[in-house]
Point group: C2
Chain length 340, copies 2
Amino acid sequence: MVKEYNVAVVGATGMVGQAMANLLYERNFPYKNLKLLASSRSANSSVNVGGREYRVEETSTAAFAGIDFAFFSVEGDLSKQLAPEAVKQGAVVIDNSSAFRLDEGVPLVVPEVNPKAVSDHKGIISNPNCSTIQMVVAINPLHRVAGIKRLVVSTYQAVSGAGREAMEELSSQSRNVLEQKEIKAEYIPHKGAAKQHQIAFNVVPQLDVMMENGYCKEEMKMINETKKIMGMPDFPVNATTVRVPVMNGHSEAVNLELEDELSPDKARNLLKEAPGVVLMDDTGSLTYPMPVDISGKDEVYVGRIRKDDTVKYGLNLWVVADNLRKGAATNSVQIAELLV
Amino acid sequence: MVKEYNVAVVGATGMVGQAMANLLYERNFPYKNLKLLASSRSANSSVNVGGREYRVEETSTAAFAGIDFAFFSVEGDLSKQLAPEAVKQGAVVIDNSSAFRLDEGVPLVVPEVNPKAVSDHKGIISNPNCSTIQMVVAINPLHRVAGIKRLVVSTYQAVSGAGREAMEELSSQSRNVLEQKEIKAEYIPHKGAAKQHQIAFNVVPQLDVMMENGYCKEEMKMINETKKIMGMPDFPVNATTVRVPVMNGHSEAVNLELEDELSPDKARNLLKEAPGVVLMDDTGSLTYPMPVDISGKDEVYVGRIRKDDTVKYGLNLWVVADNLRKGAATNSVQIAELLV
């Protein structure tokens, strides 16, 4: 008989939390009980999971009693406060915030890349940043064969990463721009920012807060998390992260400088066989991944593979994935699957 | 007394053509007569230039009689056919198509970068591709001081570069997506393409036709034109060009590997003094250029200047300009100004 688990989703009314709950159902995760937790504001609302309505309970320390797996998708501050409590009560926490990602002793896991790292956990396992996950899934199969010496990435990130309100803001701003009306901006570059920018028909070269070194936090996440997941503290990653007026699905232009020769055809063959990757690369028929086609999928899509002749062994890739699914919910559930 | 010239704008009913005519007026270009030429379809329509209505005439070989400067903004095929005819009749042609750009004996000029090249013309001077112009204006002041060894650029390009119909398509597609109606796609990646893609709430990693080598033509333009303008046939440029759902104004994430040290502060000082550049770089106040703010301006805006530590001397820039103005019309008029 398969062992069955008590599972909680914390932040279950958010977009990622709802996706997590539904993925647990869709992927037949062996849960006995599924507890949906959220803030007091959302408590007593109901969420549909696999056709069944669940009543949302208020998150509290007591709510973790008897829970085996707790999937967290809440603000970092709240994760920091509640995850250790859940662990104390015996739960394994899979946390989607950035709170613990760079902590020693907390595995940062992408199942296609570093599945063995899960076993080192002390109760908390971190789910990496969305834009990092899709990139490492795409580059790891190439790195294992040809060695990446340096990586330069520019991102084209959807507003769903900034939450449901940001998606609604993109809709209403778009309508107002088209009708030549005044617009309201509250969520881009991020909620509570000193200055807010229009995202409709615009691009905003900032995600998350700005750091002292002139990088925004999303860029530093890509740089630092990639090093940790790949197990290479000196891996040279340069990132520019940009928000674009896309509802859902992040895209990335990735430039690789390799140790050894790797032809585009060889790279295509490697990616065709790689776990979690779908090759979508036929320039002859103008076929490459784009966010509107990839939203809702669980894999990482790669196209526009071509040589970069400015270095001895260079390669360009275009990488697209659903940031709410593989970039967050799917990866979290896959981490738990490694443990059961 | 200032000499005065007979000037023609060919393709005067297009967006770039109209901008050219108006810039000639705004910048007090010394014209005696201004002749607006277009296809037979647009002949006899009228175009407003500086408050005065001009009747559009049909383009023909005869129309170039007595013309000193002819500004062309038409398809490459038409330029190829008509520009030599205009030259035969004594005109200097400033051509905005890609028809002659890489021809030996045809100067490819960005006045802030290689103004002296104009003097080598044999009747035709080419205006570079929009995304190339703004990039070389931004990097040249840094190159002169610290030497660029290698450049990796990813673009975020507006639909105005694909013409007025593409802008209308972005509007109508956006409306239809918001109202959950069917959409029509005819202009992206380009008119007449074997497959057309949605651009509203999407990003499309292709501009212009796809080439045999897996690059799209816009990428090859950036690579080859940059080499010619900078006068460095071996200049290593790697480009990924992407269309984004922005009406007007191209953005570029530019990564530079330099020969010598150049701190972000030194780079800012160089760009502050550089001709045609506006420095807009204060991460503390979340200030950086974005297309909605830069559309309608004649300068190239640069921000998000920061060190790239993955190479000995690395630097990142974010470059935004109005692709119809500095990327096309303004640069063309500036070329003519060099000659008068």
